[in-house]
Each structure stands twice: as C-alpha cells, then as structure tokens.
Amino acid sequence: MIEVVCNDRLGEKVRVKCNTDDTIGDLKKLIAAQTGTRWNKIVLKKWYTIFKDHVSLGDYEIHDGMNLELYYQ
C-alpha cells in the first residue's frame, strides 16, 4: 500500500492510499472520489509525462509519497 500525493496547484491536494498493482485509472477514481470531479476528466502528469490509464503504478515506478501533478481535461 502506498500513498501518493496529488497536487493541482490550485488548492486541491490529496493523499491517496492505493496498491502498487493498482492502475492509474483506479488511482484516478480514488482521486475523483476525494476531490469531487469525474475520474475521466483527470489527467495525472509528471512534467510532460502523462500517465496512461491502463498501466499500473508499479510499472510507472510510482512509489510511496510521490507527488503527482493533477490536471483536468
């Protein structure tokens, strides 16, 4: 179980607990549940790397405590 921090620099900062084998899509759903947006409107990025929905966190090497950038589309 890892905790990932998602910040959109507009006031929304959430910490989401998830498994390493969860996909980015699942993570987005968790974020959406906490922020109140729709999960398909969320874009997770790190600089210019957009995290794709079907890849797991482990594959992206997203570890505990990592900061992800939260954008909306």
């Binding site: 179980m1 900062k13 607990k17 390493t20 969860d22 759903k29 968790l30 906490q34 570890h63 405590g65």
Partner: protein, 789 residues
C-alpha cells in the same frame, strides 16, 4: 535469535495501535533475520539491542504524543533515522514507525492543511464501492525509498554472489553427469564381452536357449488359439483382424470428397496427384483435395489478369439480364467487391462412388446453354440500310394488280330521250367558253359570277370537266345523281371511279373555298359598287356637260397615260380584290359612261398592255399616291443627290485649335465631271507684269497671348496642330513656368533690387525728412556700452 523474537514481540506490541501494523511486522523479520544471518552476525545482536532501546524510547515518545500530527511523527521518525543511518536493518523499523505515523495522520485531519486523505478503512470502503480490491497494507516495498526520504540501498556483496553461482553450476553439472551415466550404463563398452562370443560352448548353449524359447512361444500361441477355438472366440479374433484389413484405406473411401478445381482442368489420360489442402488445425470443415501445380497455375493466371488492369466497371456494358441457362441473372451493386467481401469461391466438384467423377452434369449443362443461345433472339434491331430506288423482285410480286371483277355500275337509265331542248343549255355553255385561257379559274369567272347576282350575264364559263360543272356546288351528296341530260356514266374500274371521286372532292373543296372568298369579297364588292355607283352618279353629272362631243382630258388620266402600262400589275396574285375592283370599275365605267372613250380606251389599252408586256425593271411607284412616292421615284431615278459627303472631324487638341468645326478637305471627293473640268493641269509661268516684284515676306506667328513666337516655338505650334495633339502635362507646365519667368524678368526693374529696396528707402527718407536712415531698432540698444557688455 532471541533478540529477534523480542524484536517481533515488541513490534507486535507496537502494532496493536493499528491493526495493519502486524501484517507489516511479520514480513519484515524473516528478511531481517536472513540479512542478519549473512552480514550482521557480529553487529546484529548489538545493533538489535541498541535498536530495542531506541525503539522503546521512541515508542514511548510516540505513545506519549498519542494522536499527534504527522509532523511530529515525521520528526521523531527522522530523528530516529538520523541516529541509525548505517544500519540497514533499522530501516524496517523506521518504516514501520512511519507506517504508524501515517496511520495516525490518516485518521485525523492534517495540520499541514491542504492535503486531504482518507483513512485505510474509508479507502477500503471506497475501493469496494468502485470495485477494486482492498488495500494491501502489508505490501510495503521500501527498498527504493522516496525522493523525500532517500535510503541507502542493499550492499551487494559480489563475493557471495559469485560463490552462489559457482555452487549452482556445480550442482547442475553433477546432476547431468549422473543422468548421463545412467544412460550410458545400459550400453556395453568394448571392454565388456558376453561370455558366449568367444567360447563356442557358451554360444551353443545360448543358441539352444533361444531356440527353446521360440518353441515355447509357439506352443503357447497354439495353446491360446486352441483355447480361443474352444471358447468360440476365434471368430471374434478373426473379425478383429479382418476389420483391420477393412480399415485399410482404398479408393472407395474417396467418395464424397471435394476437389477444388474445375473438372475441365483434368484431361483424359493424364495423371494428377491430388493432395489435401492445408487447413487450420482447429477447423472442422471437411477435407479438400487439390493439385499443387494447378493451384499455382490458377494463381498465376489470376495475377496476370489483375496486372492487365482491366477496368472494373464498364458503364455502358450491355449486361444481359438473363444468363446462359435462361435464368434471371441477379443484379448486384458493386459486384467487383464481392470476392473481397465474401471470399473466393473456387470451382470444385465432388467425387462420386469409387472416387470417380465424370463431369457428365457439366457437359449436359453446356449443351443446354448452347441450345438456348441458338434460340435466343437479339433485341438489337437491324441497322438502317440504304433504301433502293428500285423495287426488288419480291416486292414486285406484291404489287401485282389483282384483277377485280368488273362491277358494272349500271345506272338505271331514266327513259329520257335526249331532246334538242335539253341540248340547248349545253350549247350556251360552250359558246363563250375559254378553251384553256389563262384567266380561266381566276378573277374573271368569279367576277362574272358576281355579276350574275346583279345583272343577267351569260352563265359562268364552264370548266373542261363538264360533269363537274353540271354538278350543283352546294350539293353535299356524294356521287349525287348527275342531272338529267348528262352523258351516260361510263363503265369503269373501281379504281378509276375512286380516282375520279377524289379529284372531284378536291375540286369541290377548291370551289367552295373560292366561293367562300367570293362571297366575302362579294360583300365588299357590293359595298364598293354602291359607293362607286354614287360616285359614278356624281361623275356623270359632272361629265355630262363635258361629254357632249368633247374629248375629256383628265389630268390624272393623262398623267397615267404618260406613265404607261403597269405590266406587273396583278401578277403577284394578291390583288384579287383590287383586280376585281379594277375590273369592276372598268366595267362600271364602261357600262355607266359608255361614251367616255378615252377611259375605255385607256382601260382597254391597259388591259391589253398588261397582257402583252414583259417586265424587267422594278415596278414604278404610282406618283399620285403622295409626296413620298414621288420622292422615292426621284430617288430611284437618281435625280436626288443623297450621298453624304465625307467630312472628317478633328478633335480640338488642348485649345490650340479654337475652331471646333475644322474639316480636312478630301481632295478625292472632287469627282464629278463638272468640278474636274475646272482643274488646271498644265504648265504654269510667272506673270510677266510682276517681274521686279520681290515681296518682303515676313510671316509672324503669335501664340494665344499675343506674344511673338520664335521659329522653334512656331514650329512646335505647327506640329501640334498637324498631329492633333499637344505636349503632355509636364511639358506644358514647364513651358508655362518658363513663360512666367520670362514675364517676371521683363517686369523686373533694372535700376532697383527685386525687393524694391531703393524705392522703400526713398519713401522712408521722405517720411523722415532726413537724407539718411537709421538702420537699427532703437538708439539705446546700439550704444557702445551695451555692445561691450
């Protein structure tokens, strides 16, 4: 390790604060222990002891703080971390600490403010709602660490690794050797020999033994058979073996297989080897036989066809709606894609009994097709061909006149005896007959018919066809009975009768028309006649005194006489009324004043003239019609000069030509003989009287302002006039400027400056009454003092 156990126990105790802690704790110690086993044997115990102490301290601190903010936890954990950085085993402890810290933080709202997060239970609930599996709290991979808290990685001991690898290799090698030995053990080496190979006695014994075994085997087989026979199982056994024979594959098994070629590709006498076509392993379709060479050939042919680039679609191709076998061809859209969409459907046929196929059905179909094709009728009509001018012999046959039975139309003759009285009217008719005169059928007859209405006039002139004449015009009956006294109707062919009937019909129609016209014109004529009568009466009154013994010359009539006959009068055919009028007038005049000879003569002259003259020239307009007619006549004669003289107009260029109407005289217009006569084309000489005369010719040219022009300017002016255009804008402006400058120059005074200072000076002197002028503004400013300052 006792310490490790303690370790675990303490960890578990710590873990009770949060349920998840246990899971994490259990996993860590085994690894931890292993690690310790290899590396930290020496320092393990010490380290663990130290840890324990530290942990207890830390945990105590933790417990004391209770549910504190994450910062405090983090601080404490980092604190702990700093102290025991070197010991990798401690990492796990710290991680666990952090875990606890996180959990503590998670359940309460963070003091940092902006990061919100849910606790594990809440997260699990959410995950369940979303359909995800719950969080794996134990699986915490902290080897890599995070950016915020970087941790040293495992120390990789290359020596140990190498040793491990070597061990593995050795084990693998040993295993292989063992297996190999096992295998090879069965094979006899060269060194080993069977005893009976060298020793004959042993060999003999061996051979005897073998023989014995064989016999035994035979005996056994026999016994078994006997036993089978006894039990009646032999048949079964035989069946089994028989079945085996039957199961052997033969030609009869080929029945029903499909061969995927057209039956035409197999020629008689040829042997072709067919093989099973490749198909997928999981496909359950039935087997198909193909010949490899044929397949290749077919493919090659198809490729050649494709490469030919034939057009897919012929828009004007006349596709028959019925195919070869006289069945309706289905109309499909974009049929070129059918192969692509539905897949190729190659020709194939099935093998019949005994694996044979004779293609009888195909041949039958072909025969049917051929038969139907012969029967077919093409819709394309026979193309147009030249019509011959002459009848062909075949057509001649059809043209043969069938000889009809002559129907004798025998009219029942009335028992009328032809008497002389009856013949009288006939005679009258033939009296003044015109035997083919030109005027027959024209106005004459009609007029005479009109006259009939008015006066008793001889009967209308007959036409040649007396029968027609005798027929009553208003009679509508077909083939009305000819009036009595008419000649007998001859016996004729029916065709002749028909012809005659048609002709009569036509004639009758024409006559009707004429009569109609006549009736219309007749009415008009009646009116005119009435008018004329009144006029005539007037004339008569006038002429009566003149008529007495005098030849009356009428101005108009004289004029007309001089004019002469109008030869083309009435030939156009439109002048029926006019003609009638004319004729009528004539007749009237004739009848009214029989004495006015001149008119009559004129008229007669006219009529005769009209008959005899031939016309070449145009019809002259009658001048008594009006001025227009007279003018036209004059024009035609050429008495009027209507040619327009050529006058070329020159556009006035830039006001240099003040005269707007300026004609360029065309010398060639002088062409009529009268002016030509006045031209002199001879030798000229100076006048002798003017011998000493030498004039001083001085031609002065002036421009529009009156200035005298220099030769250059004069020539310029002349050329402008000649060419019809002057200078352009720039040029004229320059010229103007120059002229102005010249004018200014002229105006300039020679004794004074251009500004006229001398004059000003004098004026000032006059005003000041002094012979001098002070040049400064005021006296004060020009003092030396002021200047020096």
């Amino acid at each position: 390790m006792g310490s490790s156990k303690k370790h675990r126990g303490e960890k578990e105790a710590a873990g009770t604060t949060a349920a998840a802690g246990t899971g994490g704790a259990t996993e860590q110690p085994p690894r931890h222990r292993e690690h310790k086993k290899h590396k930290h044997r020496s320092g393990g115990s010490g380290g663990s002891g130290g840890e324990r102490r530290k942990r207890s301290r830390e945990r105590g601190g933790e417990r004391g703080s209770g549910r504190r903010g994450a910062e405090a936890e983090a601080r404490s954990s980092t604190h702990g971390r700093e102290r025991s950085q070197a010991e990798p085993s401690e990492r796990r402890v710290k991680r666990e600490k952090r875990d606890d810290g996180y959990e503590a933080a998670a359940s309460s709202k963070t003091s940092s403010g902006d990061a919100s997060s849910l606790s594990i239970e809440e997260t699990n609930k959410l995950r369940a709602k979303l359909g995800l599996k719950p969080l794996e709290v134990n699986a915490i991979k902290k080897e890599a660490g995070t950016k915020e808290e970087p941790v040293t990685a495992d120390v990789i001991n290359p020596m140990a690794l190498r040793q491990r690898e070597e061990l593995r290799e050795k084990l693998a090698a040993a295993k292989e050797k063992r297996l190999l030995n096992q295998k090879l053990g069965k094979i006899k080496t060269l060194g080993e020999d069977d005893p009976w190979l060298d020793d004959t006695a042993a060999w003999i014994e061996r051979s005897r033994q073998l023989q014995k075994e064989k016999d035994l085997a035979e005996k056994r087989a026999k016994l078994l058979e006997e036993m089978d026979q006894e039990f009646g199982v032999s048949t079964l056994v035989e069946e089994e073996f028989g079945q085996r024979r039957q199961d052997l594959y033969s030609a009869r098994d080929l029945q029903g297989l499909t061969v995927e070629h057209a039956i035409d590709s197999f020629r008689e006498g040829e042997t072709m080897i067919l093989t099973l076509k490749d198909k997928g392993v999981l496909q359950e379709e039935e087997d198909v036989l193909v010949n490899v060479n044929l397949v290749d050939k077919e493919r090659a042919e198809k490729n050649v066809e494709l490469r030919k680039k034939k057009p897919d679609y012929l828009p004007y191709a006349e596709d028959e709606s019925v195919d070869d076998l006289a069945q309706q061809k289905p109309r499909s859209i974009l049929s070129k894609y059918d192969e692509e969409l539905e897949g190729e459907r190659p020709h194939s046929f099935r093998l019949e009994q005994g694996g044979t196929a004779d293609g009888l059905r195909e041949r039958e179909l072909e025969e049917i097709r051929a038969k139907l094709r012969l029967q077919a009728q093409s819709l394309s009509t026979v193309g147009p061909r030249l019509a011959s001018e002459y009848l062909t012999p075949e057509e001649m046959v059809t043209f043969k006149k069938t000889k009809r039975r002559v129907k004798k139309i025998r009219k029942k003759e009335k028992e009328v005896v032809v008497r002389a009285d009856d013949l009288l009217p006939l005679g009258d008719q033939t009296q003044d007959g015109d035997f083919g005169s030109r005027l027959r059928g024209r106005g004459r007859r009609r007029v005479s018919e009109v006259e009939e209405e008015k006066e008793p006039v001889p009967q209308p002139l007959p036409s040649d066809d007396t029968r027609v004449e005798n027929m009553d015009i208003s009679d509508e009956e077909e083939g009305g009975a000819p009036p009595p006294g008419s000649p007998q109707v001859l016996e004729e062919d029916e065709a002749e009768l028909e012809l005659q009937k048609q002709l009569e019909k036509g004639r009758r129609l024409r006559q009707l028309q004429q009569l109609q016209q006549l009736r219309d014109s007749g009415e008009k004529v009646v009116e005119i006649v009435k008018k004329l009568e009144s006029r005539q009466r007037g004339w008569e009154e006038d002429e009566d005194p003149e008529r007495k013994g005098a030849i009356v010359f009428n101005a108009t009539s004289e004029f007309c006489r001089t004019l002469g006959e109008i030869p083309t009068y009435g030939l156009a055919g439109n002048r029926e009324e006019q003609e009638e009028l004319m004729d009528f007038e004539r007749d009237e005049e004739r009848s009214a004043n029989g004495g006015s000879e001149s008119d009559g003569e004129e008229n007669i002259g006219w009529s005769t003239f009209s008959a005899s003259s031939t016309t070449i020239l145009d019809e002259e307009p009658i001048v008594n019609r009006g001025l227009a007619a007279a003018l036209l006549l004059c024009q035609n004669k050429g008495l009027l000069e209507t040619t327009v003289q050529k006058v070329a107009r020159v556009k006035a260029p830039n006001k240099s030509l003040p005269s707007a109407v300026y004609c360029i005289e065309d010398k060639m217009a002088i062409d009529d003989k009268y002016s030509r006569r006045e031209e002199y084309r001879g030798f000229t000489q100076d006048f002798k009287e003017k011998d000493g005369y030498k004039p001083d010719v001085k031609i002065e040219y002036v421009d529009e302002t009156g200035r005298k022009l220099t030769p250059k300017e004069a020539f310029r002016q002349l050329s402008h006039r000649f060419h019809g255009k002057g200078s352009g804008k720039m040029k004229t402006e320059r010229r103007m400027k120059k002229l102005d400058e010249e004018a200014l120059l002229k105006k300039m005074s020679s004794s004074d400056t251009p500004l006229g200072t001398v004059a000003l000076l004098q004026e000032k002197q006059k005003a000041q009454k002094t012979p001098y002028i002070v040049l400064s503004g005021s006296g004060k400013s020009m003092n030396a003092n002021t200047i020096t300052k």
